[in-house]
Symmetry: C2
Subunit: 139 residues, 2 copies
DNA sequence: TAATATATTTGTAATCATTACAAAGTTAAA
DNA sequence: TTTAACTTTGTAATGATTACAAATATATTA
């Protein structure tokens, strides 16, 4: 379910979301830099091309993309939120040491609990913390 | 692994953590009100007994208890953090409508991913969002 | 017990990511 | 071309949390 760029554009069109130059560039950045960038990183990555760019625009664009269901926010506690255009169900791991966020494959839809039988579940987030293999091997 | 009150006190003693009157009252409140209270709720619940109580003290106490591994922070995005003295592995569900947080039974230790084989996992958090059964039935 | 050191609490101020807002700029429609 | 609708931008506000230092309480030592 990792959409191609064209599929993303198509979905936005379907939902009646206009893509201004700035919005297109933000989308582009997310698509080409699938490293869970922060608003700051997106800003720094684009401000050379768009010198007038404002962070408010990035926040605004991200909100639109999130509401359209095309981007997911990763709000690890104690750090800026990161943004993920990969909508495959998966978990996120944040390394205590290098602070990097890793995707890990897991089908969150398989997580069932009797306690939620009569609940309507909209979002399933799995956040792990610890030390990544790279940092472990450095010790 | 839901500790009794005495077991909690014992663990704190073992770890050399003093329990002042304020800290004891915060611990008490968490133990008696297992509703995932916020700092605000803890404050309002205790300020009548301890008129000089400061929120800083509550934050400070919670940090101590978290570091001692006796309390868990539940940082749902877009709302104050909640605090949970129930250390049984379980997930948390936040209702979009009534904003209440529900525990649900799930053994988070069973969530395995090949991608994390060489990672050291310290914390496993499962956060679901949606609408709870009570709010669904109100519609 | 008194004196001293240590720990804790408290209130205020600072922090910082995010949001609110309104003016300026852009694009589309009539 | 005029008007309306949308988008961007910069600044100011927000609000939970943290930093900090003075005040208070507790423990230790002589």
């Amino acid at each position: 379910m990792l959409l191609t760029y064209d599929q993303i554009l198509e979905q936005l069109k379907e939902k009646g979301i206009n893509l201004s130059y700035q919005r297109l560039k933000v989308l582009d950045f997310l698509y080409k830099n699938q490293i869970h960038p922060t608003v700051e990183q997106i800003y720094l990555g684009l401000v050379k091309q768009i010198p007038t760019l404002s962070k408010t625009t990035i926040y605004n664009t991200l909100k639109i993309l999130i509401n359209a269901g095309l981007v997911r926010e990763i709000p690890f506690k104690g750090r800026e939120s990161c943004y993920d255009i990969n909508l495959d169900p998966h978990g996120h791991f944040c390394c205590d040491s290098c602070n990097q966020i890793y995707d890990f494959q897991i089908d969150v839809n398989l997580i069932k609990s009797k306690d939620l039988e009569d609940f309507k579940i909209r979002d399933r987030d799995v956040y792990f913390k610890g030390v990544c293999s790279r940092c472990l091997s450095k010790i």
